[in-house]
Amino acid sequence: MSDVGWGLWGSWEQTEACLNTVVGEWCGPDPVERGSIRRWLEPKEFDCAIHTDADAARAAGFSDLVAPASMVLTYGVAAYWSPGDPSKAIDDEPTQIQIPVIFNVPAPCNKSFATSMEVEFFAPLYPGDVVGCTSRLTDIQYKTLKVGAGAFLRQEDTYTKQTGEIVAVACLDIFRFYVEPGVVQ
């Protein structure tokens, strides 16, 4: 698996053609609910009653049990498979998280990682809320790092509730680069 590559292949001209356009739009498949919040808190050993107890959340001024603020990113992740989608074959490229500036924007790159992120929050998430996400490519900065030559691509994600209310706006910087197949860094 060490040679696995990912990302939509293309030229830098094709990358630049995507600048300031919508490059991804989808709806998170699962509404906010207690079970997914508990599983999100678990690996972080995060103990806070406003995320598990509606009465504690109301006492703190929320209208119901509230999801952690940064969990909006999780509720905005698209489904990896939905009814009607084809089955995955053993030698298919693994499905990864939908990051449009990697998987929808062409670039002459086969590797990538996130380097920076910021999120501004506008509204809390409560049980029953469903989160949609619209992504735009807002910046391209060419750079050579020790892992290889490539570019920083900035993705702006707007997360909205089913009501249209904006929950959060996130900016994610992804470094996409090229590594010759077989080369281990």
């Binding site: 999100w40 678990e42 940064s70 990896y80 929050f121 892992v147």
Partner: protein, 139 residues
């Protein structure tokens, strides 16, 4: 955690540190919970091909740990206004014990109370790996 409340803050206040060992099991639990199944976050060989020494933590986990750090210190009565820039200076890999720290760097008036500006960071045995600026509103 809910017993801990910080009703007010001053510039220079230091947040109580949080330590957490990064095991492969924790990363797998995290991937299942946060829905980021990118291979480098649970497959060591793929992580090595991207320049890391082993599978490494993703931004969702780091942001969530910074949220825990602030919530544990400030209690339930604050609201997160902004998290970031969160900058990854080095990989946080399986086998690391991570320590999350922070301090209050500014307090300003806000429309609904006070805005607390916090500088947070994460350290491993190799030094500082991640930094994050956080803005919270204390009503």
């Amino acid at each position: 955690m809910m017993g801990k409340l910080t009703p007010s803050a001053s510039v220079g206040d230091v947040l109580p540190a949080i330590q957490i060992p990064l095991t492969l099991q924790r990363l797998v639990m995290e991937a299942g919970a946060n829905r980021d199944f990118s291979l480098m976050h649970h497959d060591g060989a793929v992580a090595q091909s991207a320049g890391a020494s082993a599978a490494f933590a993703n931004t969702f986990f780091l942001m969530g740990m910074f949220e825990r750090l602030v919530r544990s210190w400030a209690g339930p009565h604050i609201r997160f206004r902004k998290m970031g820039p969160l900058k990854m200076l080095n990989f946080n890999v399986v086998g690391d014990t991570l320590t999350f720290r922070g301090e209050v760097v500014a307090i300003e008036e806000a429309e609904k109370g006070a805005l607390w500006l916090l500088n947070l960071w994460c350290e491993s045995e190799r030094g500082q790996t991640t930094t994050c600026v956080v803005e919270v509103i204390k009503e």
